[in-house]
């Protein structure tokens, strides 16, 4: 049991922190970037590619670096610290993760190679209107005619769905189960309507009308297991990103309490406020512990263990993130309500991450299903 980064991991953290800090350490820059489509900085995306960050999780044969979950988590934390808008989570971890898990060697080399090089943005079109947080697709269906496949239905919201060069789309298979398909951004019968999300991100309604698609991996294969695991890994990485954002929020709040004067003294003279900051710290440290643990479970655990770890860390981040975010705004007062100041936007981003992949109540419901099956939780017994 060891929670420390080795030298290479520290070097990676410092390098990523340097890059994104230079880009978005000044919050105003982030604000300007997310005003314009595609909602992130294409040049920054290229820099991340040059640094090897976009290929970090993928094997060397697929054009990547072959790094482990801890390294991916480090990147997510650093992106979270500045709420950098580049679609690392949506494109690399989620969409790329599914291609890496389910694609043929040729698909992996082609799609992931271009992603790692910064030449292509991927999106995973999975959510469907009227339902949430499952691994199965229902309203988007796949049809087969000879050797060719088409997809029909609506996916929404799809993160970065309008900008993506290639969409990875989940669909209900004719023979049952859920498959995944590659759809080119310019495919026939594909229409995309993009819009900004409240945290400066981008999402889209993606409509498919007998749109030609290439099955990911072997045609007709039920991929719901792979989709579930990739979503679980994404939950854990989203938790890393949230942790970074929470760290910035606590730092900003303590700085503010030390500098802002009211009634002739700085706010840290009021114990009612400093105690609330202490409780924010407690939430943050507990979250930190669970995030590090869940990240380590990805490489050491079975899919069931990863699913449980994802649910547990998502629950903690949901509760802790809301606590830290809400308190950060309250302790700042009115300034945190303005779009010019960063704190409110961090809270908005935490809120988005909380709802993209399953919020705290959802996780409690999931974990409740098995709570009678074991006596006590033991993270050291594996």
């Amino acid at each position: 049991m060891d929670f420390t980064y080795d030298d290479e991991q520290v070097a990676l953290r410092d390098a990523v922190r340097g890059l994104v800090g230079k880009a978005y350490g000044d919050y105003e820059r982030r604000r300007q970037v997310v005003k314009e489509d595609p909602g992130f900085d294409e040049k920054q995306w290229s820099r991340l590619a040059e640094m090897g960050i976009l290929g970090l999780p993928f094997s060397e044969e697929d054009g990547g670096v072959g790094a482990g979950p801890v390294e991916i988590g480090i990147v997510c934390q650093e992106l979270g610290r500045t709420i950098a808008p580049e679609p690392f989570l949506a494109s690399v971890v989620l969409a790329g993760g599914l291609v890496a898990a389910a694609g043929t060697p040729e698909q992996r080399a082609e799609v992931l190679g271009a992603l790692a090089a910064g030449d292509s943005v991927l999106a995973f079109a999975h959510d469907e209107p009227g339902r949430r947080w499952g691994a199965a697709a229902e309203s988007v269906t796949a049809a087969q005619d000879g050797g060719s496949w088409t997809l029909t239905g609506v996916k929404e919201p799809v993160l970065h769905g309008a900008r993506a060069d290639v969409l990875v789309v989940s669909a209900a298979l004719p023979g049952g189960g859920t498959g995944a398909f590659l759809v080119a951004g310019d495919a026939e019968g594909l229409s995309r309507a993009g819009y900004p999300t409240y945290d400066g991100g981008r999402a889209a309604r993606v409509a498919l009308d007998q749109t030609p698609a290439v099955p990911l991996g072997a045609p007709g294969l039920d991929l719901s297991g792979s989709i579930a695991t990739v979503l679980d890994i994404t939950r854990i990485m989203a938790a890393n990103q949230s942790l970074g954002a929470m760290q910035t929020l606590l730092g900003a709040t303590t700085d503010y309490l030390k500098s802002r004067k009211q009634f002739g003294v700085t706010l840290n003279h009021f114990q009612a406020l400093t105690f609330r900051a202490a409780d924010m710290y407690t939430s943050l440290e507990l979250t930190h512990s669970l995030v590090d643990w869940a990240t380590m479970v990805i490489s050491a655990g079975t899919p069931e263990e990863v699913a449980a770890a994802a649910a547990r860390v998502s629950l903690q981040v949901s509760r802790g993130g809301r606590h830290v975010g809400q308190e950060a705004i309250q302790l700042h007062g009115g300034i945190a309500m303005t779009a010019e100041y960063h704190v409110g936007m961090y809270v908005a981003h935490l809120t988005a991450l909380d709802h993209l992949f399953g919020d705290g109540d959802h996780q409690v419901r999931k974990l409740s299903a098995t709570v009678a099956d074991y006596d006590l939780l033991d993270p050291l017994d594996r």
């Binding site: 420390t4 105690f275 202490a278 050291l380």
Partner: protein, 391 residues
């Protein structure tokens, strides 16, 4: 980063588990697991069993019975002990006065007291708090005035836990009233059979007798019983209270009680054809508590895994605060599971209500103390906001 324990530490943990679950009296462990009160003799017996195996004071200097373990091993020892329902060595002896005598005592004091302290041949009481000196310990008023080869002690201590069993009491006394309040304090060891020393019980909200007042009226204490330097008591108190925070989050015990809550919920009807564990709200509460305990346990592991470089890990301040909150929350769940049976704390042997349901409310009420003692949780928030956040 590494998820698993090293093989050596895994083996160590297995050895501890084996020892605690096979070598310590099963009746004592059952008393702990079922939440009943331990007798004086059971506490003594448990500690002597541990001491005979070298497991009572592993954190002491090695020449006095310590084992030179890593912080991680001490943590595993402590957690396995709690998980097995083994009473932890009496804190006043093992965590408080023992390390103090080993650090500050004279050679004679070490020879005289340390073996008896480890083996619980002497039952120590703590004489720190006074009616006007709780979290503000330096305001204490009990005086010690030098008279030849003796100190003459007058005053009153309070909240002396299990003082009714105490053989000796370690006290902080004011030896110089003229200087600023932290500077005039000394530590004295006092035989509780001394003339003029009187222990008076305090009845608590749980109906039990756990704490006491200790009154000193012209109690004569040999000068040789001074620990450390004259007027150096504040340094010793800070050393002792620093030790007190180690292992202060009772994760292992709270996990065990939560696991038991699940078992009991499974065996209790919800009155509508199912069991309490079928109730989605009960399940949800258990899930939330389990998750918070998991986060706390992992935080404790983060802290112990990092403490080798001497500096305390900042997250250690979280352990007391959150550990006691969760301990209290689990005790609250137990009361809620017991429902109407929880009022029957005074029922006798002819009661049809289960034992557990009759003990949960006194335990719940008793545990309100956890966020008050050892530096109240408000003091912990003060430590976090001042020393970690710099507020």
């Amino acid at each position: 980063m590494q998820l698993e324990l090293s093989e050596d530490d895994q083996e160590f943990r297995a050895q501890m588990r084996e020892f605690f679950t096979t070598e310590v009296s099963e009746e004592i462990r059952r008393t702990v697991i079922e939440g009943r009160e331990l007798t004086h003799d059971q506490i003594v017996e448990a500690q002597r069993t541990l001491n005979a195996a070298g497991l009572a004071v592993p954190h002491w200097p090695e020449e006095y019975g310590g084992r030179g373990w890593s912080e991680l091993r001490r943590h595993l020892w402590h957690e396995e002990m709690q998980r097995a329902g083994v009473p932890t060595p009496l804190a006043f002896n093992a965590s408080m006065i023992g390390p103090v005598i080993a650090q500050f005592g004279t050679e004679e004091q070490k020879q005289e007291y340390l073996p008896k302290t480890a083996n619980l041949d002497i039952w120590w009481s703590q004489g720190f708090s006074e009616p006007d000196a709780g979290s503000d310990l330096a305001s204490l008023r009990t005086t010690a005035v030098r008279d030849g080869d003796h100190w003459v002690v007058n005053g009153q201590k309070t909240w002396t836990t299990l003082g009714q069993y105490g053989d000796w009491i370690f006290t902080l006394v004011r030896t110089d009233p003229e200087v600023k309040k932290q500077a005039g304090i000394s530590m004295l060891l006092i035989d509780m059979t001394s003339p003029g020393l009187e222990v008076r019980p305090i009845e608590l909200i749980d109906g039990g007798h756990e704490v006491n007042e200790v009154w000193f009226t012209d109690v004569r204490v040999p000068a040789a019983n001074l620990v450390g330097e004259l007027n150096g008591g504040w340094t010793i108190a800070k050393f002792l209270l620093g030790n007190e925070r180690v292992g202060v989050a009772p994760v292992g015990a709270t996990k065990r009680i939560l696991a038991r809550a699940k078992d009991l919920a499974k065996d209790t009807s919800d009155g509508e054809g199912g069991t309490l564990l079928d109730d989605p709200l009960v399940r949800a509460r258990i899930v939330e508590l389990e998750n918070e305990l998991l986060a706390l346990e992992l935080t404790a592991l983060r802290v112990v895994a990092h403490s080798s470089d001497g500096e305390p890990h900042p997250a250690s301040s979280v352990l007391k605060l959150k550990g006691t909150e969760l301990q209290q929350a689990v005790s609250e769940l137990m009361v809620d599971l017991a429902g109407p049976a929880s009022v029957a704390s005074g029922a006798g042997d002819d009661s049809d209500l289960p034992d557990w349901a009759r003990t949960v409310t006194p335990t719940y009420l008793n545990l309100r103390k956890a966020s008050i003692y050892g530096g109240s949780n408000e003091i912990q928030r003060q430590i976090i906001s001042r020393t970690i956040l710099g507020l």
